[in-house]
Structures are given as C-alpha cells and as structure tokens.
C-alpha cells in the first residue's frame, strides 16, 4: 500500500520532470529538471531494494556528471530564439522518429512484459541482505570478462579525453610547479648597491 503510494509519487515526478527537460526554454532549467528526474528514478530503484544502484545513480550522475553539465551549460550563451526557430520545420521529422522508436521498442519488448500479471513479485529480503555485496559477487565472478572489457574501454576513453585536452598551445600560461618550488633567491632578487644620499646634495 505505502509502497504503491511512493512508487506513483516518484513515478509521477519522474515523468513530469523528464518531460520538463524537453519543454523548458532555459537550458539551465532543463538541466536541473534532469537532476530531479535522476533523483526520482533513484527513489524507484530504492523501492526495488537496489540500494547500491540507487545511490550510485545519485553519486555518479547527480554528483558528478550533472555538475559538469551545468558547468558547461552555464557558460554557453545559448540564444533561445534561434534554437526555437526550427521547431515547426523539424516537428514532422521528430514525430516520425519518435513513433518509429516507440514501435521498435514495443516490438522488441513486446506486450507480454507489460502485463502486470507477468511481473514477478519483488522478492522481499531481510535487512541483513546487502545489495552491494551481491552485485559485487556477480560482477567479479560471473561477468568478470565483460566487466574488465568495459573497464578497458573506459580507460581508453579517459586517456583519449586527456590527450585531447592536452593541446599545448603557446597561449596557455601553465607553470611548472617544480620550477616554482625550487626557485632560489638569486633567480628573483637583485640587490643593487648604491651610495647613500644626503639631503641637499642633489638640487
């Protein structure tokens, strides 16, 4: 009973915020609604007793990815008028693609899976059950190979991203910290000897 209320509440928030992401005019508002929809889906995962995935969703997507996303979106000067200009022109194409995708998904997933009686009831587990542990055991035994492959792909992506950003142009003012740490007094300071001056000698 109470689980159903929670599910419909967060399901409603999820659908609403996901559609707001598309509808909102201001890209910052869209990004913030995307954050809200991540939260709502994480709450739904918590209902499925998948606490590791739920918290990891908040940690990775809300805590890191969306922060960088906002970072970029805030610095862009997006002219809303030009973005909106093509809306009517591209609408038929958009609708066609949307309909095609929904049909494709419907054909793949099939109506059998959307009947409520085909759902397995969620196995309720005790409080000593650790979703994290189960997930770890499965990942590192049964799916070890796939897991390692995914890790290698991500590593390649990290190296590629870093090497792209390492564009050493002449404009960058990056300093070598080692040179700064080992700087000596003689490198920076010059003591000039000069005669003391007394009052009235110049004039």
């Amino acid at each position: 009973m109470i689980e159903q209320i929670v599910f419909y509440l967060f399901g409603g928030i999820l659908l609403l915020s996901a559609s707001m992401v598309v509808v909102m005019r201001n890209p910052i508002h869209s990004a913030l609604f995307l954050v809200l929809s991540f939260f709502a889906s994480s709450a739904i995962w918590l209902l499925l007793q998948a606490e590791f995935l739920a918290i990891a969703l908040v940690l990775v997507y809300v805590g890191a990815v969306m922060v960088l996303f906002l970072f970029v979106v805030m610095m862009l000067d997006i002219n809303i008028a030009t973005v909106r200009a093509g809306f009517a022109r591209f609408l038929p194409v958009g609708i066609t693609v949307a309909v095609l995708m929904v049909t494709a998904m419907g054909l793949v997933v099939g109506a059998d899976y959307f009947m409520s009686d085909t759902y397995m009831a969620i196995k309720s587990v005790g409080s000593d059950y650790s979703n994290t542990k189960e997930l770890g055991i499965t990942l590192y035994t049964e799916y070890l190979f796939q897991f390692e492959v995914a890790g290698a792909i991500l590593l390649v992506a990290i190296i590629a991203a870093i090497s792209l950003s390492m564009n050493k142009s002449k404009i960058t003012k990056s300093k070598n910290p080692q040179d700064q740490v080992f700087v000596k007094k003689q490198d920076r300071l010059r003591v000039v000897k000069m005669q003391s001056e007394t009052k009235g000698t110049e004039s």
Partner: protein
C-alpha cells in the same frame, strides 16, 4: 540517560497521541513515524546548536591564535560571560535583516540555493552512528549514502552563483564546481580504502571492525588515506586554505556575494554543518568512532569504563573541528592551479596506490588489523 528520556517521551507523549488520533490499523506506523521525528529532532537540534557555537569557537580560537580576544561583550542578563551570547545575537540580527533579491536574478533558484546547500549536510546525519545502538537509520550502504549526499552540496553553490546574476558570484560558483568534482574523486578513493579495510559499507560495522585498541584503529594502516580524506574534506567544504570559491581578495565573497540576512546565514550554517559532518566522519572511519582510546590497556581501560561511548566520539569530533579552525588560522590560501594540481596529480595517484597496499594487507591478513 538518553534512552530513558526517549522511552519516557515515547510512552507518555507519542503513544497517547497515536491512540487518540489514528484508527487502530495505522497506529503502529503512526507511532513509528512520530518516534522517528523525535529521533531526528534529537540529532538536529544539537547539530544546529553546535553550528551556532562553532562560529563562536572559530572567532575565539582564531582570535587567540592571532593574539586577540575575540567576541567578549554579548552575554546574558548583564553578564558578559566571555561573549557566549554572541551566536544568538548574530542569529537574531540575521533573521531580522532584509533578504535583498537582485534584479535580473532567477527568484526561485535564488531562494532555493541556500536550502539546497543546507539540506544534504543535515540529511547525511541520518546514518551517523553515535554508539553501538544509537543510530537513526542503520542502513547497509551508509558510506555510499554519505558520499552521495556530500557530493550534492555543490548544487547550492552552483545554483546560487548562477541565479544571482552577478559576475563575482558566477566565478565563485565555477571555481567551486571544478574544485569539488576534483576532490570528490580523491575522497571516494579514500572511502573505498576504508571499505576494503573494514569489509562493510555500514558505518557502525566500520567502527566495530576497528575495535581492539588505539593501534587497531584505521588511522595507522590507512594513514595516507586518512590525511587525504581530511584535506579533501577541507576542499569540499570550501574552507581555508581551499576557500577560493569565496576568495574575498579576488571575487569579493564568491557565490554568496548577493545574499544577505537569513539567506546568507543558511549558507553559513551549511558550511559549518558540513565541517562538523566531515569531522565526525573522520572520527568514525579512521579514529575508532565511539571506541575508547584506552581500550586494551590493562589499568586505564577499567579506570575509564564509566565514560559513555558517545563521549569519545564527541571528543574526537571536537578535535577534528578544532583542526579546521587551526588550519584556517595557519595556512595562506592556495593558488587555484595549485589546488587543481594537488587534487588531480597528487591525491588521486596516492589514493589509488594505497588502495592496492590496503588490499594486499587485507589479503595477507596482516596483524593486528586484518586477522
């Protein structure tokens, strides 16, 4: 003592309320809800009082370090009492002041930002265990929960910076966002080290796996992670020497430059609540939490057996809270590129290396920690 008060309230106040107001079927749920509310209040009220007096302690401690007296005028009923009334006077002043909303700002987000920054730092207290039994939510993924919530605090800063419609605030927000994302990774790896060492994500289990004596605490096998965790905590809370997000010499007050009155004070409270949270987490994960430092020492253990376990946790937390103030009074502010270098090029490699070391220690059952 606390249990007796809680039982008394539960029996004499909550039980009659639920039996009077609710139908029979919903009474257990109603009682549970009210009991949880009481527990939340029992955690949050002391936290907020500590936040208020932490600001006073900061002014006093930094005053003494700099050879000044600090606030010593505002007291109660004509007695100055070393300025103990100062936080209350400050709070009254901030509540009474007007909240100016700048023109061209996004009103809704401008008001939401301080709330978004305070709420996660208070919500994280739900999983903090105060001793073996006293914890609001004893969840298995407590460590992850804390990590997720501390990573949310940056939203308040970013949204405040953007919604203020001010260049200074915006620059502060950008600085803060980049800094927090950088140090969160090091922090996550440090917590992964704790997870490997203790074999659990539950904060209570983490503390219990450190029991034995002071050398069984994780500060010895995880020493680099301990240091990195605390320094990353300084960076995450935007405290000196990493407080470039509000560096007054370059960008006035950074992200909260446009805020005044209570809206500003909520940011202020969030910063101090985050500091207390980092302090209590450092105590729990690396310094044995509520375990007595005299545990395992034949004579002294018995001598201090009467001390409630919560006292030790609070004492350790206070020490870490003092460190925050000490660092602020000691170190000059980092240059921004040096902050980034420290986070990405020093801390993350060290934590990854030490994760391997800890795993080796655990696999080889190295005494006295992992046997």
């Amino acid at each position: 003592m606390l249990e007796i008060i809680y039982q008394f309230i539960s029996q004499n106040l909550l039980l009659p309320i639920t039996t009077l107001l609710l139908p029979v079927d919903y009474q257990p749920q109603g009682l549970l809800m009210l009991q949880t509310v009481i527990k939340i209040l029992a955690i949050l009220i002391p936290v907020l009082v500590t936040v208020a007096y932490f600001t006073y302690a900061e002014r006093k401690v930094i005053g003494f370090i700099q050879g000044r007296i600090g606030p010593n005028r505002v007291g109660f009923f004509g007695f100055s009492l070393w300025g103990l009334g100062q936080p209350i006077a400050d709070a009254v002043k901030l509540i009474v002041k007007e909240i100016v909303i700048p023109t061209g700002s996004n009103r809704f987000l401008f008001v939401m930002a301080p709330i978004l920054s305070l709420a996660p730092s208070l919500a994280a207290w739900a999983v903090i265990p105060f001793d073996d039994t006293k914890v609001l939510a004893n969840i298995n993924a407590g460590l992850l929960y804390v990590l997720a919530l501390t990573s949310l605090a940056v939203y308040g800063v970013i949204i405040a910076g953007w919604a203020s419609n001010s260049k200074y605030a915006f620059l502060g927000a950008l600085r803060s966002a980049a800094q927090i994302v950088a140090y969160e990774i090091a922090m996550g790896f440090a917590l992964a080290g704790v997870l490997v060492a203790s074999g659990s994500l539950n904060l209570g289990d983490i503390v219990n796996s450190q029991s034995g004596s002071i050398i069984h605490w994780f500060w010895i096998p995880l020493f680099p992670l301990f240091v990195i965790y605390f320094i990353s905590g300084l960076a995450e809370t935007n405290r000196a020497p990493f407080d470039v997000a509000e560096g007054e010499s370059e960008i006035v007050a950074g992200f909260h430059v446009e805020y005044g009155g209570m809206a500003f004070s909520v940011f202020f409270m969030a910063e101090y609540a985050n500091m207390i949270l980092i302090a209590v987490l450092s105590a729990l994960m690396f310094c044995g939490g509520w375990l007595s430092p005299f545990q395992g020492i034949p004579g002294l253990e018995g001598l201090f057996a009467w001390v409630p376990p919560m006292f030790w946790l609070l004492a350790k937390t206070s020490f870490f809270m003092f460190l925050f103030l000490w660092f602020r009074a000691t170190f000059p502010r980092y240059r921004y590129d040096q902050i980034m270098r420290l986070g990405w090029k020093v801390f993350i490699p060290i934590t990854i290396f030490w994760l391997v070391v800890v795993s080796a220690l655990v696999i080889t059952d190295t005494p006295p920690w992992f046997n």
